[in-house]
């Protein structure tokens, strides 16, 4: 049904004057009921936080997204991205219907096809690969999404062990380190803490709910002390009581020295350690060598400050946290560094108490009972058992996986199914990912826009955007977890489908329909069955979020009977399992390599108005930073003859990019920084296409030895004025 | 950082409005100074009457053209808002333009007037001799032309938000500058007249202009002094012409070639009248040059003030 000119006009107003060509929306199935204003609660999808949204829909068009205060995690906030989310729906350059590649890969010639044709063709190509290389020849990769479960299940039902998810690009090492110590990954009660040390995390720009809001609240209103370690003067640093521009990769020395001070001065929580921890003696022995004076040389943080901070921290405990951080794809010893943090937190006893680390509370969702499939026959191509025996097998290890796929060992992987992920930008060493793409017989991507990776796919499945689809109901974990619903607020504007429909379309043609014999409604019915609500689905449709009453609860694990999910059942300061796997059972310091003469360490970090590589084509967001720059300290810039605004070439052993230099005092002279998500190759991403440079193109491949997590701060770049 | 919202069109408008006002004022003065029922400086009065309507009419058109919604300009005359210099100014401008037109009519030679009425098919009753009202029209012109000339300055000077402008000296400066440019145009007109150079009329204009330029100097100086002794924001805003982007235009072009040079020429021109008996030096080229420089100086003043003023603002 064509859209009336009146609505076109309104539509253009919504998208911002001139941002959208009027002719682009003359189609689609969406119905317009004039003069209607409705408020529909749903859930944001622009980043992992999944805040609760109330969409204001007028005359069938989304007018505004407002925050939903009922969600205690997102607590009535919606960030810049969440506010700009409605442009996903009305982006004239979005994916609108299924596409099959017509020319060579990357040439950009596409054929618009029916869903049937896209399914048939994909199934046929997947079957061909399966026939030749076995089901393990197909790789299924995805980044967290409510509907990811369907996609993963299709991969497994297909018979492939090669499901790879995003954690080893993101937070695998921190998760593994805390799991190995506490048997679980806790949350941090920043709202009630009196002392927070934040190192290698930037909570005031990398937004995480409720942590960002909690930290503002506590530091600004309750006068919680915030100590920040970061080679850059981030917004978090600017709001901290103390900021130390720590020498990159040496945080562990700082933590070990804190442990040294705390243990040698007997400031640890002796009762807690005795009751709940094991391996304290070995720890005490280990950290004897790590004096503050030694740490000063490593970290460039004055010994006196380390001593003072250690004392203040232990005095404030248990209302004190050394914040775990989120993106731990940083250094090759990241796991051990996070272990050191976990141990530091443990010895001062800030466990499961207000203002400390708190294990996440649970809300059990029901599960829809689908037919089980046989376990895959082949081992994983990334050989997790051999390489990373302690790591979470189901998520895989992305960089090792890429190496093995490229080597064709232990066996060939020749097809790639991708959901909501942009490996060309998310993985370091773009050229290598490109080679992986080139050696694939077949690639299909499920996305909402023509990402760089999608640009090289053979089949493109356009998923309906989050405002147009019903997703599986999810629990957002945390100290105070909630249940959230994502429901469509408008009908799909174009010929797109939600993930489950795409999975089912493929399953049917692959002969796997028996495993996906349900509707999203049935799935959700099953999920909410157990909730203590009379009409749970109706409730969620009306409120968007279900919050269990009572607020956060503390102390459930604080009884000597409690068994932690570790080998010893205790909090493992010393880990036998690590030792068995050939790793240091206690965090032993390994100094990082420094940049060679004339080179600089490339460090990464978020900006509050962009998500990863995926929102730079949103006009409302791109407005804030139309291209990325190389941030460099003036002293460093002078040493390489670069002035503010100069075009520079930034190169490493794996690639080079060009972008403009921006001189800033807010970074260490031995580091440089650039924002992720620019230098796009896909011309459909009109606004970010060829603007600035892509960090992925110059990041070198390296990973953490224990978890397999990518190590993205280990690249030393050369800078040359061009 | 404030942006430039009022650009060259507004500069032109302020200049042209002031120019008309100046021309009219001087011409009215010339009309008013009568000797034995005869206008003392008839040529000045006539030239002035012939020229005065057009700059202001053009300027008003430019102003309307500069509006975001030019077809709504009539709204200016639906409301009267005494607090708004622009509202007062619009009304002043309307009355003044009407007056200049009537005055033009009153000075138009009879044959021309009749021919015009016929050619433009104007109503017959317009073909009427108003020569008798010239003195009245001149008298009415004093408040209106001074009002218009002052208003172009008040428009800026009334803006508290821009420290560069916010002093009553701006209005006075604009007034004297407007009168001076009017003088300049009349000097130019007289000196371009091939037939004859009328020494007494020229001397009248020179004397007037010398006074006006001198007055301008005595306003610029207190303006700068005042500013320098004023609050920080004003001092900072003065930096725009004392070491900032407009320094060169202000000192060299405005103060130098726009005021000093023409002043020197004019003084030299009337020097003989002061000493020996000769009425003037009578250098046609120099007279024209001085006149052009005066007019350019007046334009630059508007330019500098409109632009620099918008860049000035209070901090914090």
């Amino acid at each position: 049904m064509p859209v009336s000119s009146l609505d076109r006009r309104r539509f253009i107003q919504i998208a911002g004057a001139g941002a959208v060509a009027a002719t682009q929306i003359g189609c689609g199935r969406h119905q317009i009921a004039l003069g209607q204003r409705r408020e529909i609660p749903t859930t944001c999808e622009l980043c992992p936080n999944k805040c609760s949204v109330i969409a204001v829909v007028e005359d069938g068009l989304i007018r505004k997204l407002n925050p939903n205060p009922e969600n205690p995690k997102s607590r009535g906030m919606l960030c810049a991205r969440g506010n700009a989310g409605l442009l996903q729906v009305y982006d004239p350059n979005r994916l609108k219907r299924p596409l099959i590649r017509a020319g060579a890969r990357g040439e950009g010639k596409w054929r618009e096809v029916s869903w049937d044709e896209a399914f048939d063709y994909t199934a046929q190509r997947l079957s061909a690969v399966k026939e030749k290389y076995g089901p393990q020849g197909v790789l299924w990769s995805s980044t967290e999404a409510f509907a990811e479960v369907f996609f993963k299940n299709l991969g497994m039902a297909f018979g492939s062990p090669n499901i790879v998810r995003h954690p080893t690009l993101c937070l695998a090492s921190v998760n593994l380190a805390y799991s190995m110590t506490f048997g679980t990954v806790p949350s941090f009660d920043l709202l009630n803490a009196n002392y927070v040390i934040m190192a290698g995390a930037n909570r005031f720009e990398a937004l995480i709910t409720p942590d960002t809001m909690d930290l503002i609240e506590s530091t600004m209103n309750r006068k919680t002390r915030l100590v920040c370690l970061d080679p850059r003067f981030t917004v978090t640093a600017s709001r901290a009581d103390e900021w130390y521009p720590v020498k990159p990769g040496t945080d562990m020395a700082f933590i070990l020295a804190m442990l040294h001070v705390i243990i040698s001065e007997g400031r640890h929580d002796k009762e807690f350690v005795a009751n709940y921890c094991q391996g304290f003696e070995q720890l005490a022995e280990l950290v004897k060598q790590y004096t503050p004076e030694w740490a000063e040389k490593e970290t460039e943080i004055p010994a006196a400050d380390i001593v003072r901070i250690a004392r203040e921290f232990s005095d404030a405990a248990p209302r004190a946290v050394f914040y775990a951080g989120r993106r731990s794809s940083t250094y090759q010893n990241d796991f051990q560094m996070r272990r050191a943090q976990a141990i530091l937190n443990a010895v001062v006893g800030n466990w499961d108490r207000e203002g400390g680390m708190v294990p996440n509370a649970k809300i059990a969702l029901g599960e829809y009972m689908f037919l089980p499939w046989d376990d895959p026959q082949a081992p994983r191509v990334d050989e997790m058992e051999k390489n990373f025996p302690l790591a979470a097998k189901g998520d895989g290890a992305y960089l090792k996986l890429r190496e093995n796929v490229l080597a064709g060992s232990p066996y060939p992987v020749k097809a790639w199914m991708i959901l909501k992920q942009d490996p060309l930008n998310a993985l370091p060493e773009q050229a290598k990912t490109m080679r992986m793409i080139e050696q694939m017989d077949f690639i299909a991507a499920i996305d909402i826009q023509m990402s760089d990776t999608t640009w090289y796919a053979d089949v493109v499945f356009p998923e309906s955007t989050y405002l147009e689809r019903l997703d599986p109901i999810e629990v957002l974990s945390g100290i105070w977890p909630v249940v959230v619903l994502r429901q469509p607020v408008v009908k799909p504007v174009y010929d797109t489908k939600p993930c489950l429909d795409i999975v089912q379309g493929l399953a049917r043609r692959l002969g796997l329909q028996q495993y996906f014999d349900y509707t999203i409604e049935q799935w959700n019915d099953a999920a909410v069955k157990e909730l203590p609500l009379e009409m749970p689905l109706e409730y969620l449709k009306k409120h968007g979020v279900y919050t269990p009453p009572g607020g956060p609860k503390y102390g459930a694990t604080l009884n000597p009977e409690h068994r932690f999910v570790t080998k010893s059942g205790k909090i493992e300061l010393y880990s036998e399992r690590l030792q068995e796997a050939g790793h240091d059972p206690l965090p032993v310091y390994q100094p990082p390599l420094g940049p060679p003469e004339g080179r600089f360490r490339l460090v990464l970090g978020r900006k509050a108005y962009y998500t990863h590589a995926n929102s730079t084509s949103n006009p409302w967001l791109l407005d804030f930073a139309p291209e990325n720059h190389l941030s460099i300290n003036p002293a460093a810039a002078a040493s390489v003859g670069v002035a503010d605004g100069d075009m520079v070439e930034v190169s490493s052993s794996v690639g080079a990019v060009r972008l403009r230099a921006r001189l800033t005092q807010e970074i260490r002279p031995d580091c440089v920084y650039m924002l992720h998500g620019f230098g796009k190759q896909s011309p459909w991403l009109k606004r970010a296409y060829h603007r600035g440079g892509s960090d992925a193109a110059i990041l070198e491949t390296a990973w953490d030895k224990v978890s397999g997590n990518a190590a993205m701060h280990e690249t030393f770049v050369k800078i040359r004025k061009v | 950082m404030p942006k430039i919202e009022w650009g060259i069109l507004i500069v032109n408008y302020l200049f042209l409005g002031g120019l008309s006002a100046g021309i009219y004022f001087i011409a009215a003065l010339a009309t008013y100074l009568q000797e034995k029922d005869e206008t003392a400086y008839a040529r000045i009065a006539r030239y002035g009457a012939m020229m005065a309507p057009w700059p202001v009419a053009l300027g008003s058109l430019l102003l309307i053209f500069d509006l975001g919604n030019w077809w709504r300009f009539y709204k200016l005359f639906v409301h009267f808002r005494w607090q708004s210099p622009m509202s007062i100014g619009s009304w002043l401008l309307l009355l003044f333009t009407a007056l200049t037109l009537v005055n033009f009519w009153a000075w138009l030679p009879e044959e021309r007037r009749t021919a015009l009425v016929a050619r433009l098919r104007l109503p017959r009753w317009l073909d009427r001799d108003l020569a008798g009202s010239r003195r009245l029209l001149a008298a009415a012109g004093f408040p209106l032309s001074v009002g218009v000339a002052i208003y172009t300055g008040v428009l800026l000077g009334a803006v508290q938000a821009r420290p560069f402008w916010n002093t009553n000296l701006v209005a006075q400066m604009f007034l004297f500058s407007a009168l001076s440019t009017g003088c300049g145009v009349l000097i130019l007109a007289l000196s371009l007249n091939r037939k004859r150079l009328d020494a007494t009329q020229l001397r009248f204009l020179y004397t007037l202009d010398i006074c006006l330029i001198t007055l301008e100097f005595f306003i610029v100086l207190p303006y700068l002094l005042h500013g320098e002794l004023s609050v920080e924001a004003v001092r900072n805003s003065l930096a725009l012409i004392l070491g900032g982007p407009y320094t060169l235009v202000f000192w060299l072009l405005f103060m130098g070639t726009g005021l000093l040079v023409p002043l020197a020429i004019e003084v030299w021109e009337i020097a003989p009248a002061l000493g020996s008996g000769a009425p003037l030096h009578h250098n046609r080229r120099l007279a024209a040059l001085a006149a052009v420089l005066v007019v350019c100086g007046g334009y630059l003043l508007r330019y500098i003030f409109v632009y620099a003023g918008q860049l000035s603002s209070f901090s914090r």
């Binding site: 506010n83 005031f204 809001m213 | 975001g68």
Partner: protein
Amino acid sequence: MHDKRYALVIDSRKCINCKACVVACRAENQVPLGASRDWIGEEHRGTWPRLLAAFQPEQCHHCVNPSCVRVCPTGASYQRDDGVVLIKEEDCIGCRYCMIACPYNARFFREDKGVVEKCTFCAHRVDRGESPACVETCPSKVRVFGNLADPAGKLQQLLATRQFHVMKPQTGNDPQIYYLL
């Protein structure tokens, strides 16, 4: 004294320059790209490693003596009894005098409509009993919107317990955004 006087109290220290308020306003009020009704003033000072960064949310101050209203020749700019300064679009001739007269550069010109626009305190939302879009969406709740005329209201409470300043008080506009110190 009216029984309503809308105003903002802003705790700039809490601002993390996330720009949520800017996008929220753009969405709520269909502000075209290239202009904003609200913005974040930034100040970066110092040399490495002694640094300071401050962020200050800004928008129209809904002045008690609004110089924009005073200079408007058509009355398009006006002030409501509750203090909100608005622009009647249909009366605006686009002369931009008000922009020049605003000490806070709070106004901008809309090329597409030929009129001047600025923050309305989201009067349409406020009149429905909601809070302004920028106030509502902020993760830090930096802005507190309310009725200054209410002696028991949250604004008066904040101003009674905290020190504050207003921007550019010299202009005599009596701006109604109170920045907490």
